[in-house]
């Protein structure tokens, strides 16, 4: 029996886990549920040795485990299949399965033993796959099974499956669950992390629900709950509202940005949404729903295959970010500020001025003075805390970096701003300040598309909420800012969608 007790884990500015407890019994399938940011993945990472807990302890059959790394977890018999693929495409099925303990004889790879071991694991799952098939030739579902076989080859007693059906069709998911039940019957403890309540109720025996880093239901028999009760537990009732600037949106104004049945090469199907000047449209969805990708398609970074994008009422053909910016005044504050938003080893002034160098230049040269003056304007307007405009962005805190990332679009006089996960990795107080800032921008007449996986944030800020799931808009709601009610409606939309679709994902 694996018990993780009162785990606490803090990251700079964020308390990801605040006394979470998880109990796993052999021979059960245990569901781990919670909203985005509730601490599910942090908990999984603590149990699999990726992170070390600040407080609390993890015991296996009564002995305390000190997991210094993923290897320690493997040795203790804890296996994990991550949401993203961890197979080497060029290697065969057998090579991938036994990768962690390749059998050797005098330094030479013992291929016969490797194949035998792989076959044993595959038979355990009753999967019919030739060990010599290159993994590159497998389907996504087959790859998933190979990953599970890989986890089994290590004689794991505990197996964590993180969103295993995210990229499987309904049939494939059913077959996976047959395997999961078989593992349970042979005495394994299986943890299923999933946001699809339907499948959780179909396969799991017990459930732990996390909310704000705490367990609000601990190893409870799932039979005692309805789906509605589970959603209540995930969402919670307590919610502190923040006072934001009063805004009125002119409901008659034509949309600043209007996507009309847009389909993309990435698989978005007939996405329609619009946002008016002065309005904040929340685009909510789970990670992987395709929201950032949609934003990038609008900016011309991904191919639009059908439908139209209209800016201020006229059709727009946007081929790249430069065009989006200069011709249509659309800015995109990326979710990945470290790699995509900022030049970390460049000074603040340059990072803010990068979008307007052309405008600042005199006879082809950019005077430092003008660049600094521009930076100072936005440093003051957004309350960015820096020692000088020449300070390197990499030396700033996350919140200040994010403000710099926003400032460069304001400097370019954007009228439409797509803000992608603006408060990820930002501490609570700065987060509130950021929300005020975003509401303030809308009050000044900017049209804002707020992409967020943070439901409270979306409910606080947005005027309307469009919900995206599996590359489609599954519904749009007028936001009355009543958090319990709004969150229930949004979550129902997402879960209803997966219910109807039976977990069919677009490929």
């Amino acid at each position: 029996m694996l018990v993780a007790e009162n785990l606490v884990k803090t990251f700079p500015g964020v308390r990801a886990l605040d006394g979470a407890t998880l109990t796993l019994r052999p021979g059960t399938v245990h569901a781990l549920l919670g909203e985005n940011g509730a601490g599910k993945s942090t908990l999984v990472k603590l149990i699999t040795g990726v992170y070390r807990p600040d407080q609390g302890r993890i015991t296996l059959d009564g002995t305390e485990l000190h997991l210094g790394g993923p290897l320690d977890a493997q040795r203790a018999g804890i296996g994990v299949v991550h949401q993203e693929r961890n197979l080497i495409p060029a290697f065969t099925v057998a090579e991938n399965i036994v990768l962690h303990h390749l059998p050797g004889r005098a330094g030479w790879l013992d291929r016969a033993r490797m194949r035998a071991e792989a076959r044993r694991c595959l038979e355990l799952l009753e999967v019919d796959l030739a060990p010599d098939t290159p993994v590159a030739r497998l389907s996504v579902a087959q790859g998933q099974l190979v990953e599970i076989a890989k986890a089994l080859s290590l004689d794991n007693k505990v197996l964590l499956l993180d969103e295993p059906t995210a990229s499987l069709t309904g049939d494939e998911a059913d077959r996976l669950f047959t395997v999961v039940r078989r593992l349970r019957d042979s005495g394994h403890a299986v943890v299923l992390v999933s946001h699809k309540l339907e499948e959780v109720f179909a396969v799991a025996d017990t459930v732990t629900v996390l909310r704000d880093g705490r367990s609000v239901a601990e190893a409870a028999p799932l039979a005692g709950f309805t789906q509605g009760q589970i959603i209540d537990l995930m969402v919670g009732r307590a919610f502190a509202s923040i006072e934001l600037v009063e805004r009125t949106v002119d409901a008659q104004a034509p949309p600043a940005l209007h996507l009309n049945k847009v389909s993309t090469a990435l698989g978005h199907r007939e996405v329609s949404l619009w946002v008016r000047p002065g309005e904040i449209l929340g685009l909510y969805g789970l990670v992987g729903a395709g929201r950032s990708e949609l934003a990038k398609a609008v900016l011309g970074l991904e191919r639009i295959t059908a439908g139209t994008v209209e800016v201020h009422g006229s059709p727009a053909r946007i081929r790249n970010v430069g065009e989006a910016l200069r011709r249509y005044r659309i800015g995109y504050v990326t979710e990945d500020r470290k790699d995509e938003g900022l030049f970390m080893d460049q000074p603040v002034a340059r990072n803010i001025a990068v979008t307007v160098w052309r405008r600042l230049a005199r006879a082809g040269l950019i005077p430092d003075r003008r660049e600094r003056a521009l930076a100072e304007t936005y440093v003051e307007r957004l309350g960015i805390r820096i020692s000088s405009p020449q300070q390197l962005v990499g030396q700033l805190s996350g919140g200040n970096q994010q403000k710099v990332s926003l400032a460069k679009w304001l400097a370019a006089d954007c009228e439409i701003l797509i803000v992608d996960e603006p408060t990820v990795g930002i501490d609570v107080r700065t987060k509130a300040a950021f929300h005020e800032l975003i509401a303030g921008l809308a009050a000044q007449g900017l049209a804002l598309l707020l992409i967020s996986s943070d439901l409270p944030e979306t409910v606080v800020l947005a005027d309307r909420i469009a919900v995206m799931s599996d590359l489609r808009i599954v519904g749009e709601l007028d936001n009355d800012h009543d958090y319990p009610r709004m969150s229930q409606r949004v979550i129902r939309l997402i879960h209803a969608e997966t219910h109807v679709e039976g977990g069919v994902a677009a490929t």
Binding site: L301, V321, Y332, L365
Partner: protein
């Protein structure tokens, strides 16, 4: 050498004496003084000093040629071969085609630019790593170079051009002053122009650059084109300063082209350049050359020393980076 490091940013509290350029400057000065003493003052005689700076011109320009592609995170293995090729073509145009020197010079520069742009276009269109593309063009150019005149030597071309190669202004060789002027232009380009900054942005973080409305493809083509143009400049200097040109010219320029920017503190990963550092490093390498000549050291040892210094400089850069990351 009183250029300010316009392309390197001095953060607050970053004193001059803590910059890598300052360290390099001290080492260069100390090395120069030591060599002057060791040669019994011979280095300081007018003739030797002039020769010292005359043959510093090509290493400076070729180092800058490599630096501009390093700025966007690329490499140009063809710089040496291209310099040789442009020099050959310029000499051929004057001797065989009988064209006047200014046209030959212009042709060499245009050829360098064209090959550079072609390199860039190949990188952009094929998405093949610039290292491989320029390795291929280097080999092609080497083949073409022998095609122009076989193993023969061109000599006796334009007297005016050779006179320029020998000329001095205020005790400094004209070709060295050309190299310095080019360095100032390159520093201005990266420090002050929109395009130069866009190149650095593309090199520093291509994703962030793209999302800021900068075309990385354009940056790559411009960087390679500029690199080729500078190789053309190096070719013109070679033609005027050396008085004769053969098919082996430029073969020994590849290592120096990397040595100058890398010892000078330019990041291999791109996004950061240092014109002053590159100048000082070229100066240092030149000192090692002179030392070899003065003391009759086996030339093989020179390559060994320079190679070791390059390796050391890269290690130092990595170390500096790690320390900085730890402190933030």
């Amino acid at each position: 050498m009183t250029l300010t490091a316009t392309s390197r940013v001095a953060g607050p509290g970053r004193r001059l004496w803590r910059t890598p350029e300052f360290t390099l400057g001290v080492i260069a000065a100390a090395g120069f003084v030591a060599l002057a003493i060791a040669t019994g003052g011979n280095l300081l005689s007018a003739g030797t000093l002039e020769a010292f700076f005359r043959f510093l011109a090509v290493p400076i320009v070729i180092g800058l040629s490599q630096m501009v592609v390093l700025a966007v995170g690329q490499m140009n293995l063809a710089v040496g071969a291209l310099t040789g090729f442009c020099a050959m073509v310029a000499a051929w145009l004057m001797l065989e085609a009988g064209l006047p020197a200014p046209i030959a010079v212009l042709a060499a520069l245009t050829l360098g630019l064209a090959v550079g742009v072609a390199n860039g276009a190949l990188v952009v269109l094929t998405r093949i790593n610039g290292f491989i593309v320029t390795l291929a063009t280097m080999t092609i150019i080497q083949g073409l170079r022998y095609g122009v005149n076989g193993p023969d030597t061109f000599q006796g071309y334009s007297e005016g051009l050779r006179a320029f190669g020998r000329a001095s202004i205020l005790g400094l060789p004209a070709v060295f002053l050309v190299a310095i002027a080019v360095a100032i232009l390159v520093a201005l380009f990266f420090g002050r122009t929109v395009t130069g900054r866009q190149l650095l942005a593309s090199g520093g973080s291509p994703f962030a650059a793209r999302l800021s409305g900068i075309s990385n493809d354009r940056s790559l083509i411009i960087a390679h084109g500029l690199s080729g143009l500078l190789a053309g400049v190096a070719a013109v200097i070679t033609v005027s300063a050396s008085g004769s040109v053969n098919a082996t010219i430029g073969d020994d320029l590849l290592l120096p082209s990397f040595a100058a920017p890398i010892i000078g503190g330019v990041a291999l990963a791109g996004g950061m350049v240092s014109v002053v550092g590159t100048l000082l490093a070229a100066f240092l390498v030149r000192l090692v050359d002179v030392m070899q000549a003065q003391f009759g050291i086996n030339p093989r040892w020179v390559d060994l020393i320079i190679g070791a210094v390059v390796l050391g400089a890269v290690l130092l850069g990595t170390l500096r980076q790690r320390i900085r990351e730890r402190s933030t």
